[in-house]
Symmetry: C2
Amino acid sequence: MATATVQTLFEGIRRGDRASLARGITLVESTRADHRQQARELVAACVGVERPRSLRIGLTGTPGVGKSTFIETLGMMLIRKGHRVSVLAVDPSSARSGGSILGDKTRMQELSVAEGAYVRPSPSRGTLGGVARNTLDSIILAEASGYDVCLVETVGVGQSETMVADMVDMFVLLMQPGSGDELQGVKRGIMELADLVVVNKADGPLELAAKLTRTEVLNALHLMLPRRPSWTPKVVRASATTGHNLDRVWSTVLRFFDELRASGEWDKLRAEQQRKWMWREVSHLLLAALDRDPAVRACARSLEAGVLGGTVAPSAAAEQIVDRFLVPRR
Amino acid sequence: MATATVQTLFEGIRRGDRASLARGITLVESTRADHRQQARELVAACVGVERPRSLRIGLTGTPGVGKSTFIETLGMMLIRKGHRVSVLAVDPSSARSGGSILGDKTRMQELSVAEGAYVRPSPSRGTLGGVARNTLDSIILAEASGYDVCLVETVGVGQSETMVADMVDMFVLLMQPGSGDELQGVKRGIMELADLVVVNKADGPLELAAKLTRTEVLNALHLMLPRRPSWTPKVVRASATTGHNLDRVWSTVLRFFDELRASGEWDKLRAEQQRKWMWREVSHLLLAALDRDPAVRACARSLEAGVLGGTVAPSAAAEQIVDRFLVPRR
C-alpha cells in the first residue's frame, strides 16, 4: 500500500465508507514494518478530522450474560435515534479458538448489516497486548468515519478490561440475575471499573432475582469510594431480549456524559488517557526493541532464570539488562 | 561508602544488627549513582542468604482505622510467639507532609523499640514510584537480617497498593465498623486485593455495627471471583485496642499460608512476582534513561503537547519518541 493509497483510504474513511474503515483497521492491526508506517500516516490524518467528540463506551460481561444480544438491541435502538454506532471487540480468546470472527458476525445479525453501524469482528491476532494497543487507533479511525458512539467489547475475564478502561470514557458491566454465591464469574477488579452495571435478563421468572442482584451490587459499590469525582456508579435492571429498560440504560449513559461534561472531567479524562497511552506505548516499544536484540535477549533470559531461582535480585537483574541494551549505543 | 563498607554492612545485616539494616535500607533508597552501585552489591549479597521463606504481608486501611495500633498490638503478639517482625511503610503522603517519620516512631512506641522488631519510618523521598520500587529491596534486606514476618504498610488511598500487592504474599485490608453509606473511604480496587479483611474496633458500642459491616463486606466479596485459586478472602472482626480476636486474625493468616504452600501457589506467586518486578524495573529504567536525554525529552514534551491537544495520535507520538531515543545509538 503506497502513500497514495493511504490517502485514498483516508478519504474513504472520512466519507463514512465501511469497506475503507475495515481496511484501515486491518492496516492498524498489522505488525509489518511498512504497514506500521502507513498506519501511522493514516491515524495521523484521521486525528486531524474535526468531529464532535464521540462517546467511547467499554462494555464487558462474562460469556452467557447476553452481551451480543444486548449490543445488538441497544445498537439498533441507537441507530433509530440517529446515532452511528461502531462496535470493536477485544477478545483474548480469539487466539485460542482460532478467531471468533464468524461468531460475532452471526451473533449480531441485524446490527452488523445495518446502515449506520460498523461491527468489527474480533481480531484474530495472537497477543492481547497488541490487539488492545491498536484498539485506540481503531477508535480514532471509526471516529473520523463519523461514528459518534464507539462501543468496545471485552469478555470480562480480566486480562483486557483495565487497558480498555484506559481508552474509553465510560465502562459498562453486564451481569445476570443471581446471587454472588451462584458466582457471577466477574473477575475481581472489573466491578471496580464499572460506571454502570446492567443486570440483564431482568424478565419473566428472573425478574425478582434481578432486583435482589441489583441491591447486592449496589451494596458492594457503596462500600467503595466512587471512581470518578462527578459520578456515582448506577445499577439498572434491563432485558436485551424484551428491550425492557434499554431506554433507561441509554438515558443513564447520557446522564453520565452530561455530568462529566459539566464538571470538566471529560476533558481531563481524555487528556490523561492520551498521555498515559502515549507513555505506555513508549514503554512497550522500548521493551520490544530490547527484545529484538539477540545478545540482550540472551542476557535477559539468563538473568530472569536467576531471578526466578531466587539467586538474583530483580532490581539488579533489571539494571544489568538495561545497561546491556543501552551502553553499547552510547 | 566503599565496597569494603558494603561487606561490613552486609555482615551487620546478616547477624541481625538493626543499625546496619537501617543504614542498608537508606542506601537502597538513595538515588545517587555511587549508592546505586553499592546498593546493588548489598542486595545481591542479601539475596544469597539462606533463610526460611518469610511471610510478606501487605497491610492497608484509610487513616483513622487504627492501623498503627493494630500493627503495634499484632506485632507485639508475634514477638511473644518468637517471630521477628519488620514493618516497612509506603506512604505517599510523606512527600507532602515533609515526612511522617516522627509520627510513625511515636505511634508504635512499644514495637519500635522492641527486641525482635524493626520499624522503618516512612520514607521521606518525594516520588512514590521510587519508594515503592525500593521496597522489595528493603524486604530482601530485612529477610537477610532474620525477620520472618515482613509487614508492608500503605495508607489505602490507592496509589501504592497495587505495587505493594505485587511484592507481598498476602494482602490485609483494615476497615472500621460502619455501613458503606457512611463511606469507608476505601478506594475502589483495594478491596479487590484483600485476602483478609479485618473489621477493626469491633468492641464496645461498635460491636453490632462491626457484625453488619462484616456481612456487607462478605456479600461484596461474594459477588466477585476469588483472586487466588486456593483461597477465598475471609473477613474477621477484631479490636486492636482490647486485643480481641487478634489470635484469630493471625491463625487466619497462617491458614492462608498453609493453603498457598500446600497448593504450590506460593512458589508460583513468588516466581511470578519476581519476574514481573524485574520487567517493571526494566521499563522504569528505560524510561528514566530516555528522560535523561535532553533532546529526546524536548521532543517528548512537544509531542505530548500535541497528544494532549488532540492533534497527534498517542501511538504515532510514541513511535517518534522511541525512534529519537534509539536510532542515534545504532
